[in-house]
Symmetry: D2
């Protein structure tokens, strides 16, 4: 069985990674890639796809996709743009994985406040599963629409959620200091992501105001049953890709570092894409893979977790393929090893 696939908003970095991954997927065939402005061959937009894809970008509507037989849509559109077309895509029988934030939050008021918009499809929010299979696999399995997690949230939720749920750490004093490669800022030219501005430079940004903050809080709360409150500081780091998140958590129990390590190892022992490691990880251990490496340390009066992912793969395109595999009943690791 081969699934016919459409990719919405195919000119950015996450779409590029997605197209590379799908090239390796024996049950996936990309038959449409869309752009509102660009009608070039996708291999001109992304020269690294030369010889890999011969299709061109098109400005397509949901009905066009349906007419061509598209069964699965990956949407890399900016926020609110997916929610504007998702209802029709679903009505036409397509399954949808949304890379954006439109369906990540359950609470539409939180969405409207943080994204400063009116959500176009608010009723659907509470029922869309959060596409982090390691925590919500069952909900994803039966869904038609999956909200692919944000990159920072993936890096932070995977280490914290189990500790929080088990009662090892307090929900109201969670500090997350994250460092991301520049591809996370997207492919639209602006002064802040010019090479000579980013290179040889590290900076904090969106301090206290990054939109992934409520996402982390809500998902941690849902996953643990505790009302999580998060301080989150992202940093722009001079590298293409990769996120490292260092957390500072307040211990509730008197657990040793070894106990915490073993707990996490056991929690993720059956997960193909989460490795709990003894040594301190570097982003280089996981870039260009769908894996998350996690370790934990007790430091003075705090518990620190350190976790690394590739923001474009486990933090975006890889997780999307993982969700696609679940949605269609394929082996979850297909195209991801």
């Amino acid at each position: 069985m081969t699934i016919k696939i459409g990719v919405l908003g195919a000119t950015g970095y996450t779409a590029l990674e997605l197209l590379k991954l799908l090239r390796r997927h024996p049950q996936a065939e990309v038959i449409a890639v869309t752009s509102r402005e660009n009608v070039s061959p996708i291999a001109e937009v992304h020269p690294s796809l030369t010889g890999q894809y011969s299709i061109c970008c098109e400005n397509l509507k949901p009905q066009d996709l349906a007419d061509r037989g598209v069964q699965a849509v990956f949407s890399c559109l900016p926020h609110t743009a997916t929610a504007a077309v998702a209802p029709e895509l679903l009505r036409l029988g397509m399954k949808v994985v949304d890379f954006g934030a439109d369906y990540r939050l359950n609470n539409v008021d939180v969405f409207n406040k943080w994204y400063n918009v009116i959500h176009p499809d608010p009723e659907r929010l509470p029922s869309v599963p959060y596409g982090l299979p390691e925590l919500f696999r069952d909900a994803i399995r039966g869904a038609s629409l999956v909200a692919n997690p944000g990159c920072y949230p993936t890096s932070a939720i995977l280490p914290i959620a189990p500790l929080l749920k088990h009662g090892y750490v307090a929900p109201d004093d969670i500090i997350i200091d994250s460092k991301s490669g520049v591809s996370g800022a997207g492919r639209k030219p602006s002064l802040k992501n010019l090479y000579p501005e980013c290179n040889e430079a590290i900076s904090a940004y969106a301090v206290g105001s990054h939109r992934h903050t409520p996402e982390i809080e809500e998902v941690l709360t849902n996953a643990s049953g505790k009302n999580a409150s998060v301080i989150f500081t992202p940093h722009l780091t001079p590298m293409d890709r990769g996120i490292l998140s260092t957390t500072y958590l307040k211990p509730l129990a008197n657990a040793t570092q070894e106990e915490l390590l073993n707990f996490l190892k056991d929690f993720y022992k059956d997960e193909p894409f989460v490795q709990v490691v003894d040594a301190l990880p570097t982003t280089k251990d996981v870039i260009h893979t769908n894996r998350c490496h996690i370790t934990v340390r007790t430091v003075g009066s705090r518990i620190s977790t350190i976790s690394v992912i590739d923001n474009l793969i486990k933090g975006a395109a890889g997780a999307a393929v993982q969700n696609f595999n679940i949605l269609f009943g394929f082996e979850e690791t297909t195209a991801l090893l």
Copy 2:
């Protein structure tokens, strides 16, 4: 008046920066550079000094330096090596700025424990000023030996100390998350500082065990009169130079962000090398300078400071020249603008 200068351990990166700065100092003349292993012209060791210095590295003893008329010694030797020669250098009438950790701590037991050695010159520790002029200028002025601060401590103490002393933040819940360029790891080849290991990679290291932890704690305690306890996590960042420190502090007073910003601006208003800025700083704003840029934010239940320095200049060679200027009564900014 020209001061004759000797540089001990001249083959590393901090010595290189020092030699570049001293080239611009109208009252400094470097007449000796030492190395235990290398007898090459210093311009071969550091090709960027070609045409700037014609002297060669030599293996010199304190008496050799005295015989040549050296009046000021900058020591870039590894820890305990300076303390092994400092007493004789001082006895022979030279003034000494130590780049290393030997005289930074007052408490010799803390030193011996964290550095896992027996300090060769323990009696002197309590009387050596910590060479951070912004906080200890008066003590430096009359000294013969100055302990140049560590790079991470400089980046963290400058923003925290005033807030702590004034009672804005609690002394027992100080979290410092620092990101440093690779030059901080020195110039000795090892797997961990190879280009293909560091590039496109960020990692935490020495979590809970970095030797700058007790230094930050002791200096914050001395500067504030409060018993500071610190959690410090350094990260190796893919860039040559620069440190950004993000702190997470617990507020004691109910101060607004604006009040905190104004307080810090006022505190440092006369300091030529500390700029309290409104916008979020990047390391790129200060690399290749002796300046520290600081800002402060209130985020949820925390106060965050964000500060940036060049680890090799304000974090090492620049601070050393600043201390040299104070020791010899020169304008403090000489060679540093």
Copy 3:
């Protein structure tokens, strides 16, 4: 059918890439990885293999490999080390792909002169095929031992050889200016490949003396039937991986740029891993792939080709897997798309 594989010298960067590629190969099973000094789990040597490989490095002899049933050996050993064991590996029935230079040249005198050694297995040289399938596929097919090409030669031979053979360019005035990422310098720590030495720096090295010079000359001569003479200048470029080679060739015919482009497109039209492109390529188009992108320009009195590869993949591990696929009759692109 699954082939049991041994990897000699598994601690370096090319071996790491090989192990990643073989993980995706359905007919390959790595059962032994060797090191003379290291007996750690391979996933500790290369943390990015965590969860992917559970075997440990061992110091194994050819007979040990045979005893375990190894059928194919990839050798990432330093020069002359492979030639010291290859005869026995072959005698024991294993097929061998050598990443090193030992069997690349036909002329042992040239080898001994440029590598400043006595070749341990000189008689075999003339009969070992050069493992560039695009030019020597038939010879590889029937072989037991293949000499995997050098990274720079791959980048330069692919564009030049067809032009030379067809008489478009002169054999005696070939200039190749190549730029390589730092991983090409290997994983052994030395001052020259430290991060702070390589970063923000480009330099020429081995000018007039790089050992890939005679390799390029001999292979171009063999491929074209003309006596090629080459000036080759490699440059160390601040990036992990990738080679871009710019050539300056002397035209013999009066061909237009369009004719040259079409000629090359036609020449490589059936090759899955060589793309002749119209636009100027960047290394980023091909890193992390087994592909080579080539273009050609007429500039004043010269013809310039510009070609890019990933030095670790098409320039090493990918080409090795391609040769392995040919040796064992697998689809040539297996594990390489």
Copy 4:
């Protein structure tokens, strides 16, 4: 004596470097910085100038500058914009150093063709000196307007011109392969200079069509008296700054490498900013300085020179200050050591 200075087009990278250098110049006072669009404090445009400059960008006309007493203008405007105002600046008695290309060529037809415009001030071209003091110091001394050289030309002309003039190399077969940091592409956001496009990537650009080609040809011809013909290929290299130019020259005489090295050392022996070195240079030896390091090698049938500069300093702002010093009779090295 202090010279009052205006900087036109102050928002880019070369202007930033200029402002940093002038901060160290005891006889320079910057009293006006202009921008057509930006009226922010210059320290907001360039945060690294915080605390160094308090003036704001303004949209000023030549008469405004004259009214304020500006005596020297550095123009960092795009091409033809300087030539549109230079006549009036000169008429008002100001001296002008132009960072752009407007007055670099003597031949207006060549200018109009390569820049695809009509030059606004064509009569002046033949009389404006080319601001490379090492070759044209006398002409600069008496001038009112100086054409600051292009960055690539500086790196290529300094090594080639003496060899060409002396007859060591042929004028009609000059190949220049240059590698530049990304700051050379300016500070205007575009896809091609985004961090994730440039990082981990090297590419050739403007092959056969770069506007520095006629500049190099004309200046080499003027400097040597021989009709120089040049093939020039620039490459975008993943680093902030620095240019390395590798040349491939055809020998006319039978000179040894040692003779060529000694000839160049002698030629530049009195120049403070040109160092002829024995070892192969790296851009890192000269970035953040006004120096050019050059070496020469004989390789097969060619002579290769390898030269390095900082494109923003010796290739722009530093050369401009050097010219300013000559124009006003200051010590040529002022603010540049």
